[in-house]
Subunit: 271 residues, 2 copies
């Protein structure tokens, strides 16, 4: 999907919500466990109930790999279902991959070609030649970790490197990589004040923002500093939406939570 | 597997060789493509021909994920075959994973429980709470990227952070993490002189060393600075061994290449 198509969808739906499909069998309604593929059954119900309120879904691959071959099959079924029934939806494989050049190309093929996601998250530690193989794919985005929302972000990401924090160096350096226009960045929402400085480095890039809701970030603050002329934000919520309730009405409860966020977003966009 | 069992195996086999199972269907003998599972058929032949010369196999997950569900099945068959037939072998899932706490636990379950690998590689960018969930698994090792062997290593890993290179800060910081005795580190072999300083930071840890062979590292130099009282090195070779030939004798050719390295290792250990 092109960035333009994503922006158009956001404007049409008045939403820049991304719903994280981090499905844990211990947390879904127990009656679903009788289904042949409980993870897919759960995802399908959530997607059918919320697709008009969000612009993107983001399965985190860890939650599928934990169930082995069965889990990978659920992931495949989920992305196929999305691409077939809701082709306007922007899909993100939250995989945080990254390896030496030829190996990163294999990961890119896995997520962009075999599974046909629109984007994949990657880790920056191995540098340019671990990310550029992803960037070579046309109309696909590579979403690189910059500043994450967990406590461990302060171990290395915010440390001073040659006069600036490491995550700022990561942002700046990546702008010189081949096809860097295909980059987006993960920026945690736990500290909204960071967005101001980040926007001075990457004014035009989309930022994928986890940590609104369960992890404590505030939507208003993030938007105040993070929005740009193309909106430029995808706000992710996972547990706060998909586990809104554990009974037979779980999909409606999820839609209710998604709508709360969508309405806040519509209001922000109207200003 | 315990570290002690790994060391015992190294001493017995007089080898600290790890063979990387990075299987690319474009590079294996073409007649294998008629097999029901060409990747597994290739791996089985390589393993049967080389298991007495090495102590470890390291499938890189990218090469399996690139083939989707089929690829994940080949990975599962490969690790099951190894655990059943060669239980003394130390297995490494080269996956370079890492995510926020509860998500890293899911990855750890995927590789330590579902697939039953002895170890998994992880990326350090997200810090302590992205790695400690892996370290909580008993008799399993977590192999963290420190200094990689690619050109991109110089983008961030060797940059000066508060007076020392980032990879050294990563090594030092990780020593304070809970269950850090379960850590090993990836250290690229392209610059053997780095090993001296790395050994001053982590004298007792095992180092997984890619880049000997195809990526240009030199075994003698690495051993000069990298060996410790428990040997403490796993030297990986992938393409140089598994793609030694493309004809019907490919497994024997691989064994021949593996034996060349094993003999050099035996000579080094005898000194």
């Amino acid at each position: 999907m092109t960035t333009e198509a994503l922006v158009n969808q956001i404007k049409k739906k008045q939403s820049f919500l991304c719903i994280g499909l981090d499905v844990d069998l211990d947390k879904i309604p127990s009656y679903l466990l009788q289904e042949e593929d409980p993870i897919f059954a759960f995802n399908k119900a959530i997607i059918d109930a919320t697709h008009h309120l969000c612009v993107s879904y983001k399965p985190n691959t860890a939650f599928y790999e934990a169930y082995g071959l069965k889990g990978w099959k659920s992931l495949e079924k989920t992305i196929k279902y999305l691409n077939k029934n809701y082709p306007e939806i922007y899909t993100i494989a939250d995989a945080k991959r990254g390896d030496i050049g030829n190996t990163s190309t294999m990961y890119a093929k896995a997520f962009f070609e075999d599974l046909a996601f629109d984007s994949v998250t990657v880790a920056p530690y191995m540098g340019k030649d671990s990310v550029e193989p992803f960037l070579a794919f046309k109309n696909k985005h590579t979403i690189m970790l910059a500043l994450t929302s967990n406590q461990g972000a302060f171990d290395f990401q915010t440390k001073d490197v040659e006069g600036k924090e490491l995550y700022k160096m990561v942002l700046e350096t990546s702008k010189s990589w081949v096809n860097s226009e295909n980059l987006m960045y993960v920026v945690g929402a736990t500290k909204a004040e960071y967005f101001k400085e980040i926007r001075s480095i990457v004014p035009n890039s989309f930022l994928l923002v986890p940590g609104v809701g369960a992890q404590g970030g505030n939507l208003q603050d993030v938007c105040k500093y993070g929005l740009n002329k193309d909106i430029g934000l995808l706000i992710n919520s996972s547990r706060g939406i998909i586990y809104a309730s554990k009974d037979a009405g779980f999909a409606n409860s999820a839609a209710f939570k998604a709508e709360e966020l969508q309405k806040q977003m519509a209001e922000i966009l109207s200003k």
